[in-house]
């Protein structure tokens, strides 16, 4: 978890579920430091931590109201699905279908609720970028996992949802990022990639711009097949 401020005066709203917030509370200062890694601003100025359960419309609505009041717009929305289904083994081993479903509900419907609610605030911005932070195993082609169904089914479904949003919103000037993986060594971190523009000459036919397709990339800027 890392928060990066681009410029003085930028605001970052970090959304935490109740469980995540409780865990950080237990971890005390270390937990907070983890959150503020990479931050150039003082936590507390443009940095806001909010309890928000993306799959609960009321909490997302409350977030919408708060941002509307204090900022008036959202430039970039970053979503990282991270709920697992607990003890979720390989085929034929232990797992709970209920828990698998519940993990997808939180990860997938959470993304949908968040995007549907926040997009009107993004329409007020000139940046309008939606980013999904995922991992290389989200690729159906390349995935090497044998278990963790609730989590991996979610990652695949969230990627599909992002593609449908791309189809719907690209023509309104929205841009999209899908970033897979960790940042080891001097590679491209998620925050850096998400804030970079891609080549785009609106005078050229749309097919010639890298902004006009949705691509999953890792920290080496390699394209990963879906």
């Amino acid at each position: 978890m890392a928060v990066q401020f681009e410029k003085e005066g930028d605001s970052v709203y970090l959304l935490l579920t109740k469980e995540e917030a409780e865990q950080m509370w237990r971890e005390g200062e270390t937990g907070l430091q983890k959150v503020a890694v990479g931050s150039r601003g003082e936590a507390g100025s443009g940095f806001h931590m909010c309890i928000c359960q993306p799959d609960y419309a009321e909490t997302v609505r409350a977030l919408y109201e708060e941002i509307l009041e204090h900022e008036g717009r959202v430039d970039i929305l970053v979503y990282a699905p991270c709920t697992h289904a607990g003890d979720d083994g390989a085929v034929g081993e232990r797992h709970s279908y209920e828990a698998i479903y519940a993990a997808t509900e939180r990860n997938v419907m959470g993304f949908r609720t968040l995007v549907d609610t926040i997009v009107p605030l993004m329409s007020k911005s000139t940046i309008r970028r939606i980013a999904v932070i995922t991992e290389a195993n989200a690729s159906i082609r390349n995935c090497v996992s044998e278990d963790d169904y609730g989590y991996y089914l979610s990652l695949a479904a969230v990627n599909m949802a992002e593609k449908i949003y791309f189809n719907r919103l690209r023509k309104e000037g929205f841009t999209f990022r899908n970033y897979a993986g960790s940042c080891i060594g001097e590679t491209m971190g998620a925050a850096w990639y998400v804030s970079c523009d891609l080549s785009n000459n609106p005078e050229e036919p749309s097919i010639h711009s890298d902004e006009n397709r949705l691509v999953m990339r890792n920290s080496l800027y390699e394209e990963i097949a879906w």
């Binding site: 799959d55 390989a90 085929v91 034929g92 279908y97 698998i100 479903y101 997808t104 509900e105 997938v108 419907m109 949908r112 690729s139 159906i140 082609r141 995935c143 090497v144 996992s145 044998e146 278990d147 963790d148 169904y149 991996y152 089914l153 979610s154 990652l155 695949a156 479904a157 990627n159 599909m160 949802a161 593609k163 449908i164 189809n167 719907r168 949705l214 097949a225 879906w226």
Partner: protein, 230 residues
């Protein structure tokens, strides 16, 4: 005699597939979800003991377990599992629709595979699923209709996770896109579409029973035998 279990066999692609398997010399256990729909029973009259009907709701743990016990009481093994059952979901594209569609389209094939795994391990070890072009992130052209598309992407990932675990035991997999079929997905027989269920299932049957020289590659193939990217 080879043995296959087929879900969603009452009508549409599943029912057409039943006929091809029996004519190909297989014994078919056909999952019956709609007892009020009498066409499967008419097929039973035509094919006798080669077709065995059993109640099956793939969204229900107890129903799937009962079906596996039913087959297990009669057979040492099964050779193939074909997951056809699928729903489009209603007009709503919300959390309730996701729950309903996920239960059938995604958890259905997982429940079935796990319940029949012991029988499959003693047979020819092939697992087939009806997916859709709607599940391909690469080619997805839609601006809405999230739930159905996400369910088909998720079932493709599910096949990958199963493949990663079961391929080394000799299992093989088929992910099939049946084309746009004039079936019953909207509740009534569709007049729109490109293929009759019989046409699409003829291709499915051939792809399911034919070995490939590249079983280590997980592919989604369509009714024309063309490969779709995930």
């Amino acid at each position: 005699m080879n043995i296959v279990v087929i879900t969603g066999a009452d009508r549409g692609c599943g029912q057409a597939l039943v006929r091809y398997f029996i004519e190909g010399g297989w014994r078919v256990y056909a999952g019956q979800f709609m007892p009020e729909w009498k066409e499967l029973e008419q097929l039973k009259e035509e094919f006798g003991s080669d077709l065995i009907l059993m109640p099956l709701d793939v969204s229900d743990d107890a129903s799937v377990k009962a079906a596996a016990e039913f087959v297990g009481a009669r057979e040492e093994n099964i050779d193939m599992l074909v997951n056809v059952a699928g729903i489009a979901g209603g007009a709503e594209d919300n959390a309730d629709a996701w729950k309903q569609v996920f239960q059938v389209n995604v958890l259905g094939p997982l429940r079935m595979t796990e319940a029949f795994l012991a029988l499959l391990r003693r047979g020819k070890k092939r697992i087939c699923v009806y997916s859709s072009e709607a599940g391909s992130i690469t080619t997805q052209p839609r601006e809405d209709g999230f739930v159905y598309s996400m369910s088909k992407t998720a079932v493709n990932m599910e096949m990958r996770l199963m493949f990663n675990r079961l391929r080394r035991e000799g299992f093989t997999f088929r992910i099939y896109h049946p084309g746009w079929v004039r079936s019953y997905m909207s509740g009534v027989r569709s007049r729109e579409g490109v293929y009759e269920p019989e046409e699409s299932s003829a291709s499915a049957y051939l792809q399911f029973v034919t070995d490939r020289p590249c079983e280590d590659v997980l592919l989604m193939m369509d009714v024309k035998g063309e490969i779709w990217p995930f």
